[in-house]
Symmetry: C2
Subunit: 233 residues, 2 copies
């Protein structure tokens, strides 16, 4: 047996790793909120802030990587702990990409400034943002509390995200067909919708990893994947 203070310090490190992921998750949620707000209000200052904040999210991913590698190297964890540390690396990687999506939302706001925008264009984007924010929050909750049931719910709700995306895609196409002046702004909004849909996918990834950590089983079978492939827009 290792002396008590070493075990305690190892636990401290595991807790610190979990806290750093939670902190990164918090920053990513703020980035989604700010990225969308910059888009909906054409707020150039908030857009710039969101783009710069993404650098901090990238730095946090690197920090989590380094913490994980250092823990593995020094502590030589057992298989189950090792699996959870590797999962932390994967979750941080998903969060980093969600941060990228938020940055892209902010960037789009700089592009659509001055274009022919109508408030109705935005409704779908606003609703989708609320839904994917919930997905990210609940996937991180499922991950931090090892809640397999919560993870399943996040995965099931991904169909809702996809349905909302498909409906928004069609809606934006109709605006484009109505008036050629709508083509450029609505094209940018289509990409925003796609970024939000991808954020939903990352939430599902995190939930699937949470489920696997808790149960040792893969949540999505090959059959489900094929079905999802065929349904998705």
């Amino acid at each position: 047996m290792a002396p008590e203070h070493i075990v305690s310090s190892y636990n401290d490190e595991l807790v610190a790793l979990a806290q750093t992921i939670a902190e990164m998750g918090g920053q990513v949620e703020v980035a989604i909120e700010n990225g969308t707000k910059a888009l909906l209000k054409l707020d150039r200052e908030l857009a710039d802030l969101t783009i710069i904040a993404d650098q901090r999210i990238d730095d946090m991913q690197r920090k989590i990587d380094d913490m994980a590698v250092s823990m593995i190297a020094r502590r030589q964890p057992m298989a189950s702990d090792l699996r959870s540390i590797i999962t932390a690396i994967h979750v941080a990687s998903d969060l980093e990409r969600v941060g990228d999506m938020a940055k892209q939302l902010a960037r789009r706001s700089l592009k659509i400034e001055g274009l022919n925008l109508q408030p109705t264009f935005y409704n779908g984007v606003r609703n989708m943002t609320a839904l994917v924010l919930r997905q990210i929050k609940e996937s991180l909750d499922a991950y931090s509390s090892r809640d397999a049931e919560g993870a399943i719910q996040v995965c099931n709700r991904d169909d809702e995200v996809d349905a909302m995306y498909t409906s928004l895609f069609r809606e934006l196409l109709t605006y484009m067909m109505e008036d050629p002046r709508n083509i450029t702004p609505c094209t940018h909004l289509l990409f925003c919708a796609k970024s939000l849909e991808r954020i939903g996918d990352h939430a599902t990834n995190i939930a699937e990893r949470a489920y696997y950590l808790q149960t040792g089983k893969q949540l999505s079978s090959d059959v489900e994947e094929l079905q999802r492939t065929q349904i998705k827009a």
Copy 2:
């Protein structure tokens, strides 16, 4: 010192890990080629094959993860070997996402079938595919041969990918403005262009990791990132 046969077997495992990544890289390159071919020729059978093949790419990612975790658990590698094993996990994750992009290209071909398509719409997509395929190939070469100079070249060429994407984006918008019947097919092609641009980003990620493994330094400084952020479409 560990007995000779154990050292040799550890090397065998490192080689096997590298080979598995090379194999996954090969499958991903085929997926990009087939996904684009399915798109350009509206080949439904090839599209279905590409979608199904993505499942194998996902399985390979899981296999690489398991190999890496098992090696770390049993061999307790030193810091430098550990860093290279963790990098293998990241590279596999990038390749898995490139596989997803290829699947999305294949899916789009099923969606644009029967729409008002003109051969000129396709030129840009064809050229971009050639460029990003080269980027993926050369990033994997730089990774497998630890070639820092090659990695820098891949990263520098990402600006070319981005420029090609921006130009294609504008070109497709003009077709959409010319004739409303072009809106739906060209919107799908816009997303294809975006998928290709993202494949280019993943090639850059792989090259950056190759560079870091070889030199211990980050290739992209914060300043470069900010510049890229502002230039990109």
